[in-house]
């Protein structure tokens, strides 16, 4: 069978997320537990988490998480990194040996910053350079795979059930102001570590439940802008789209949501506010190929916040709840209740209506 | 509520009744009928004898016509006078019928010249009414020799009607041609020829000098033996009622385009009247059925307080004998154009750029288009005149006028 990257993999899933508006840091324990009641939404072929604010000591450095298939790959990759970055720190990511998780690759993280001279030479900004480097490693360096590349955040994923993956990566030992989680149910794959969610680029991480029917339209469009969809998963393309819209095109989160889950034309035409109507029409006209159709619920993590979004027909479940300064998002309410039994204001956002939660300015 | 009285029970009376009812359902209508029949189509009596219709089908309006229209019919009574001051009609039994509005639709009666010896003729008949026809029918036999005096419409239709039921038919007329009132000599010759081919004999330009039992002595000296005599010389309008009441009459009761006589609340319609002929611009008796209906209708509408003007009447006739149809209309004045066609002849009469009249023998398709040109006084320079002369077709009109003609409700 062809593994991910050679063939497109549709999958159904479970997602969960939590954030503290006050920037209070939470250990990963709670988000790991949240995945337990949704066990049946995964099939053991992938689980993962992203935590934001987890590397306060290295918050100005890009934290690159990498899988290597062998020591030689690591060595040559490290050499490559050192040519382009100042590598402040490189270490194995701590894990727990456990029977539920097997066949693990070599898992390292590096805290790096691009060399000024290299940036100047390439006339690129720092983020663009990091993004391109990630693409380069993932497409050209056989056996090496960057699965996390943001600052003061990190992704942890593996083949296995999500609750096992959480324990494996010892997430109880990290503290972050927001967490996202994913349990995977791919329909036709042997499963490999890189294919698990969250999928990330820079500080954007996406967990996703669904199967988008617009995939190849989106992929072939976004690939025009230097992205390489090596995994052929929905999550990957959604991540790139969001990166492109938000970082490259400078759209706001809600504008980006208006692109990927654009309101129907009839809805747009019924808007009475001129700016709103013109904006929606403009975004649909300019980015038609980034409309995502088919069922999806996603949570995108970014520096200082989360955005949850459903496809415009709301073909996947997703609920949101609150308690004090915390906001919880999950495929099922049960997951929220695990994190916060007293969660309030539980609601199911409408299709295409983004839920954006940010940490108070200066609190992260 | 107004009470309407109609003297007469023919076509004009029906027109009057329907005219009244088109305006108002109120008010009673009294119809004074000299004949003992509900209204029937008089022109159909020849078809009756020919076997093309029967007494039932000859009824001009369906069963219940009077009831539905709120009419009381007094059968078998003649109106003998009109009391205008008392607003009553006096009947021949001395009774009187009060009216608020009166329509005289008294029709016409045969004109019988004072032939010497006429009283010696045994089987002699008029040919105006159903009773005439029924009487005549009794006298018909396979070997009967029939003499018809009068080669006009009535006489010739009678001849056609009885042709198959008698031994021989001779028609005589003072005029030198058949249908002299509506055909010119050429056309009449065609028709006469056709009639002769169908077994009718003619004695034209001749008249009866005297009768002696079953023999007619003609002015020319000829003698005709006959078994049955039909007198169809002509008709006279029944004008007396109005005349005696002080109304203006000429050959018919004078009416205006609203069918009003000069007597207050007294209207007149049908064969007893003399009205406006749009083809000549003069007043004349237009004793034809369509005109009777339309005058009656106009009278009725106006009697009931509506407004109707009948100012487009013209003389016209459509008649056929033994399969040969002819149509005539208007007056034969002005320049004549002729178109010979296999089946017959077509003559149009044009004066002052207007179609005044026509005679069609054998080619009657869409003749109504010609009739409408006369009635509408359509200036011929607005249509394709050359084509008009050849054939009656809507193609003679401009595209625009056809669009108007055919594009909407009419």
């Amino acid at each position: 069978m062809l593994k991910e990257g050679k063939i497109r993999i549709p999958s159904g899933c479970a997602i969960a997320a939590v954030i503290s508006r006050e920037g209070d840091r939470m250990t990963g324990e709670s988000i790991v537990s949240a995945m337990k009641p949704m066990h049946d939404r995964s099939n053991g072929l992938g689980g993962g988490f992203a935590g934001y604010g987890i590397y306060p000591d290295h918050k100005d450095l890009y934290a690159l998480h990498l899988f290597f298939d062998c020591r030689d790959t690591r060595k040559s990759c490290e050499a490559f990194l050192k040519e382009h970055f100042e590598v402040v720190k490189g270490e194995l990511i701590p894990t727990r040996k456990m029977p539920e998780i097997t066949d693990e690759p070599i898992i390292w993280r590096y805290f790096v910053t691009p060399l000024r001279s290299v940036l100047a030479d390439l006339q690129l900004d720092e983020k663009e350079f990091v993004a391109r480097t990630v693409m380069k490693i993932n497409t050209e360096m056989k056996g090496a795979y960057v699965f996390s590349s943001g600052k003061n955040m990190g992704t942890f994923k593996a083949v296995g059930f999500p609750e096992d993956v959480g324990r494996y990566y010892r997430l109880d030992e990290y503290e972050g102001y927001s967490w996202t989680a994913h349990g995977r149910y791919p329909t036709n794959t042997p499963g490999w570590w890189g294919g698990a969610h969250p999928f990330t680029l820079l500080d954007y991480s996406v967990v996703h439940n669904g199967e988008i029917s617009s995939y190849d339209a989106n992929r072939r469009y976004i690939e025009m802008f230097g992205y390489k969809c090596t995994l052929q998963t929905d999550t990957e393309v959604i991540t790139y789209i969001l990166d492109y819209l938000i970082r490259v095109q400078g759209l706001t989160l809600s504008e980006a949501a208006n692109v990927i889950a654009a309101p129907f034309w009839s809805t747009i035409e019924s808007k009475t506010d001129d700016y709103e109507r013109n904006k929606l029409k403009y975004l649909r006209t300019v980015f038609p190929s980034l409309l995502i159709t088919g069922p999806f619920s996603i949570v995108m993590g970014f520096d200082g916040g989360l955005m949850a979004l459903n496809d415009r027909l709301k073909l996947r479940s997703m609920v949101v709840g609150e308690k004090d300064d915390k906001v919880f998002i999950a495929s099922e309410e049960a997951a929220i209740r695990v994190m916060e039994p007293d969660a309030e204001n539980i609601w199911a956002p409408s299709g295409g209506e983004p839920v954006i939660v940010t940490v108070k300015e200066g609190k992260f | 509520m107004k009470h309407y009285v109609i003297i007469g029970n023919g076509t004009a009376a029906v027109g009057c009744i329907e005219g009244i009812r088109s305006v108002s359902a109120d008010g009673g209508i009294t119809v004074i009928s000299a004949e003992n029949h509900p209204v029937y189509s008089r022109p159909l009596i020849s078809y009756y004898l020919e076997g093309k219709t029967d007494l039932e089908k000859m009824r001009y309006r369906g069963e219940g016509f009077y009831e539905i229209n709120g009419c009381r019919v007094i059968y078998g009574r003649k109106a003998v006078s009109v009391n205008t001051s008392g607003r009553t009609v006096i009947l021949d039994d001395g009774s009187s019928v009060p009216y608020d509005s009166l329509c005289v639709a008294a029709g016409s009666r045969p004109f019988v010249p004072p032939f010497p010896g006429l009283e010696t003729v045994g089987k002699k008949f008029g040919f105006m009414t159903m009773d005439d026809a029924l009487e005549l029918e009794k006298a018909l036999s396979e070997d009967a020799r029939v003499l018809i005096v009068g080669a006009g419409l009535i006489g010739l239709k009678c001849a056609e009607g009885i042709c198959g039921r008698v031994g021989s038919i001779t028609v005589c007329d003072l005029a030198d041609r058949v249908l002299s009132s509506i055909l010119d000599a050429d056309c009449a010759a065609i028709v006469q020829d056709h009639l002769e081919k169908n077994g009718i004999s003619f004695l034209l330009g001749d008249s009866v000098d005297k009768f002696c039992e079953s023999k007619a002595y003609m002015k020319s000296g000829k003698q005709i033996d006959f078994d049955v005599l039909v007198l169809a010389v002509g008709v006279r309008a029944n004008t007396e009622l109005v005349k005696e009441a002080g109304g203006k009459v000429n050959r018919g009761i004078i009416i205006n385009c609203r069918a009003e006589t000069d007597l207050e609340d007294i209207y007149a319609a049908g064969d007893c009247t003399e009205g406006y002929d749009a083809s000549t611009g003069t007043n004349r008796v237009l004793a034809i059925l369509p005109n009777a209906y339309m005058q009656g209708y106009t009278a009725g509408v106006n009697m009931a307080g509506g407004c109707s003007v009948h100012d487009r009447a013209i003389p016209m006739n459509s008649i056929g004998f033994f399969g040969l149809h002819m149509m005539t209309a208007g007056s034969y004045e002005g320049e004549m154009t002729e178109e010979k066609i296999p089946a017959g002849i077509k003559r149009l009469f044009i004066k002052d750029g207007i179609l005044k009249g026509f005679i069609l023998v054998g080619a009657c398709e869409r003749a109504g288009i010609y009739t409408s040109l006369i009635r509408d006084r359509t200036p011929l320079d607005t249509i394709d005149l050359e084509l008009t002369k050849k054939v009656a077709t809507n193609l003679i009109f401009s595209q625009e006028s056809r669009r108007k003609k055919f594009g909407g409700i009419v």
Binding site: - | Y47, P290, G323, M327, E365, R366, G368, T393
Partner: protein, 146 residues
């Protein structure tokens, strides 16, 4: 009141209307049986020349002069439709003489027949309209003449 209207701009002069009319009023279920080897006597007629053609059938006038003129009282109007009672008609053609549209013509037997909008034959709707290949004949509601 729906009536049959003809638009000469679109009339092709194909005369299908005449044949469809004759068929619809034949009482037969098959056009071949109804019309083969027969002269047809339709109630609609195409007039025209090389460049202009148009079909003419009864206009069902508001104030039908044919009805007023009929010597046999055979023509009547009810529910907007001018009808002729063929059993009463004697074929005098007075209606032909008065119809300003030239819309009337006799049947094979010399007795008048006329368009009665196919309301009572098997067609149920004017056959000339349903069979017209170019919508040159339409059956519709119209108000005043344009």
């Amino acid at each position: 009141m729906k009536r049959v209207y003809v638009n000469e701009e679109w009339c092709l002069g194909c005369r299908l209307c005449e044949y469809n009319c004759a068929f619809a009023n034949s009482g037969l279920g098959d056009m071949v049986l109804a019309l083969k080897d027969r002269k047809i006597f339709p109630r609609i007629h195409v007039e025209g020349n090389d460049s202009i053609t148009f079909a003419v059938s009864c206009r069902h006038c508001t104030d039908p002069i044919c009805q007023k003129s009929c010597i046999a009282g055979a023509i009547s109007k009810a529910d907007g439709v001018v009808r002729i009672d063929r059993s009463k008609c004697v074929g005098c053609l007075t209606c032909v003489l008065v119809c300003p549209y030239g819309a009337l013509s006799p049947g094979e037997d010399g007795i008048m027949q006329k368009c009665e909008l196919c309301l009572e034959n098997a067609c149920g709707a004017p056959a000339c309209v349903t069979g017209c290949p170019n919508k040159a004949i339409v059956y519709e509601e119209r108000s005043d003449p344009e």
